[in-house]
Amino acid sequence: MVHEWALAESIVLYTKQVGYTSIKKLRVTIGVLQSVDKEILEYALRELAREHGVRVAQVELVDEYPLLKCNVCGFEWSISPSDMSEDIREAVHFVPEAIYAYYKCPRCGSLDYLVVRGRGISEVVVEPYE
């Protein structure tokens, strides 16, 4: 089982911490930059939820598309993992901040930019049973 397992375990531990053991819908927003395998993530979420005694009826995984913004010139742009070499895509998959080693602002060449959204898991929404 791969790295998605660790991401899933963080989410399951979170649902337990906030006190939910019976969940109607678990909605997870995932940044596209991280190239998460959603099928594996959902499988891991369900398996780990079961192990931790958390009942989950529906899992919804939502893509969040990347937006990057230059802190120097203000330019905004997007990057798709499909445009990356395999090495870079894999590095960003494990630690999305590795992207800062490989890319510059396409307008001014600055290294000082921010991944505003789309880096990794950004939101976990739990809808419990009434």
Binding site: A6, E9, A91, Y102, V115
Partner: protein, 243 residues
């Protein structure tokens, strides 16, 4: 929401017997060298040990260990399994950045730190040394506040007035954060700081004298394990493992 990654980080680190976060508010005192030597010596004694390099901007522990970027290999198993060198488990971001310059703003450094702490599976180590960048910045605050309860602060300084002046504030800060036990190692010294460290409320674990051998041993594990200061390293290690 509170970041779910921190929960797994806490779970993973709580399975390790001793996790020391190596800190110094002053740069150049030898944090990376001290972290690496302590982890390396422990592993050479048959103690399952780990070394985590959290200095994203200027990682250097792989250079001390003599590992080329392409030599650092992680396995995936319900997360990321660190690189192994003998009994030493090792993780550094350079395996992903190819040791290219990495300029991170505070929030990005904090996020990278959370990601790494949550995905790396250390297993049941006896000892983990966490090397941090110099100063007190977002990464330090994150570790010291969010991981309180599973980590121990290990402060490093050299017997220089400037280093001590800076480190004294760090010790005070750690106490304000609620750390009752603050461990202290004097690097490139001969025991000059023992009284000052104790007066500041830190637990003085020992000193590692300056040795010219170190520079010529960087990158060679066999030579690092035969340094003429190894008695001092082993004495500190013994105390680290018995706290």
């Amino acid at each position: 929401m509170s970041d779910p990654r921190l929960l797994r980080a806490l779970k993973t680190l709580s399975e390790i017997k001793h996790t020391y976060v190596v800190l110094s508010s002053k740069g150049g005192v030898g944090k990376s060298t001290v972290s690496t030597l302590l982890a390396l010596y422990a592993s050479s004694m048959g103690i399952p040990s780990g070394l985590l390099d959290l200095d994203f901007v200027n990682p250097s522990t792989h250079v001390i260990l003599g590992l080329r970027v392409e030599d650092i290999v992680y396995r995936e198993e319900k997360g990321v399994i660190p690189h192994r060198t003998g009994l030493l488990s090792y993780f550094t971001i350079v395996a992903y950045t190819k040791d290219l310059p990495l300029a991170l703003r505070g929030e990005s450094a904090r996020s990278a730190l959370r990601e790494i702490l949550s995905i790396v599976n250390w297993g049941n180590l006896e000892l983990l040394l966490v090397d941090t960048p110099p100063g007190i910045s977002d990464e330090h605050l994150e570790i010291l506040y969010s991981l309180r309860g599973v980590i121990k602060p290990l402060v490093v300084a050299t017997p220089s007035r400037l280093a001590w002046h800076s480190v004294l504030k760090l010790v005070s800060l750690l106490r304000d954060m609620g750390y009752r036990r603050i461990y202290f190692v004097e690097n490139m010294g001969s025991g000059e700081l023992v009284t000052q460290a104790r007066e500041a409320g830190a637990e003085y674990l020992g000193y590692i004298p300056f040795t010219r051998q170190l520079e010529f041993s960087i990158g060679n594990i066999s030579k690092l394990l035969e340094l003429d200061v190894k008695t001092h390293i082993n004495e500190i290690l013994e105390k680290l493992l018995s706290t």
